[in-house]
């Protein structure tokens, strides 16, 4: 059962020039690489190491993540919206997986 699932929340609509609140969360264990399992072996690190958000083709957030970030990383930020365009959210996993989510946004 895959545990990794991105979730996005955008306001339903906005006017041109509004600053909108964007909430994102990806369910992920964020295994730090310092814990040990029942038999004393180190559990290998596996975290989301980078998160980006593009809006209308422009990068608005690009963050690096490190092992101290808790499970299910939640990222909230504000974006000034000028036009109807796509939001593209991308999470990069240590194991090479890339999780991407696109949401169209209406500016009326």
């Amino acid at each position: 059962m895959s545990d990794v699932r991105p979730r996005i929340r955008l306001p339903r609509s906005a006017k041109a020039g509004d600053v909108v609140e964007v909430k994102t969360l990806i369910s992920h264990n964020m295994e730090t690489g310092t814990r040990r399992d029942g038999s004393g072996n180190v559990i290998p690190r596996q975290i989301i190491n980078r998160f980006t958000c593009e809006y209308a083709g422009k990068m608005v957030v690009d963050m690096e993540m490190h092992p101290a970030i808790s499970a299910n990383p939640y990222v909230e930020f504000d974006v000034k919206v000028e036009e109807s365009a796509d939001f593209v959210f991308t999470w990069y996993d240590d194991d090479g997986s890339v999780y991407s989510e696109t949401q169209a946004f209406e500016v009326g």
Partner: protein, 285 residues
Amino acid sequence: MKTITKLWASAAICGAMLTGMAQADPHPDAELIIEGELHLATRAAPPEHLGGVFPEIYSGWLFRTDETRALQMDDFDNPGILFAERGLDRWNAADGAAGQSCADCHGDVESMAGVRAAMPKINENGELWALEHYVNNCRTTRMEADAWGWNSEPMKDMSSLISLQSRGMPVAVQMDGDYAPFWEQGKEMYYTRFGQLEMSCANCHEDNWGRMIRADHLSQGMSNGFPTYRLKNATIVPLHQRFRGCIRDTRGETFREGSPEFTALELYVSSRGLGLPIEGVSVRQ
């Protein structure tokens, strides 16, 4: 931010009306509104069987900080919802030798509305069972799958999902008839002092609710918010695990999760919250 602003606004309006509260109760005016739509009552008239020990019964939500309360008002911010979402995947996934999923018998998970509100319930053999017992019974007899551990991740996912279907429905446990002996057993436990510290449930949650026990603000010990996401554990905590934690803190030998003792206690504690709604997956400290 929206929810916090709303919280402050309602605090400002009601603040003027409430003066002279009998006991330390920091948020008597807070209103629990989920997603700006679903209003959950957090105060109610106490059930008669309590014999007037509380002037009013309060959800544990009222005893938490502004930030913790706000988390429960938004399903995006409530980390417990993640468990319920994963529970929905499990609901639809076939498991066990019979190749059955929950959905194969029960259909949509909405069919579980009201189930959590009436737990614990007497089964066909006359035993008192909690929600987790029923889930495991389905798994072992109908699905021919292995039972889940009481505090295991899949069980927490499933109980969160099923509880959420009862969110907003009033606690509906029975106390009479066949239930009476179980209820009496639970009541007996509630007032029995356990452990080296010789403390009963009532010592904290009846005699001293509203006061601080070290850094913790004592609630009335209502169970309508369970299963609850505890920030301290960063996971869902089932009610029986919480019971065990409480008895452990008295330096006592505890009962097992799922034991007849804890199930009887669950019935009695639930009956103390008759009048409050199920909060599905709540968020606590």
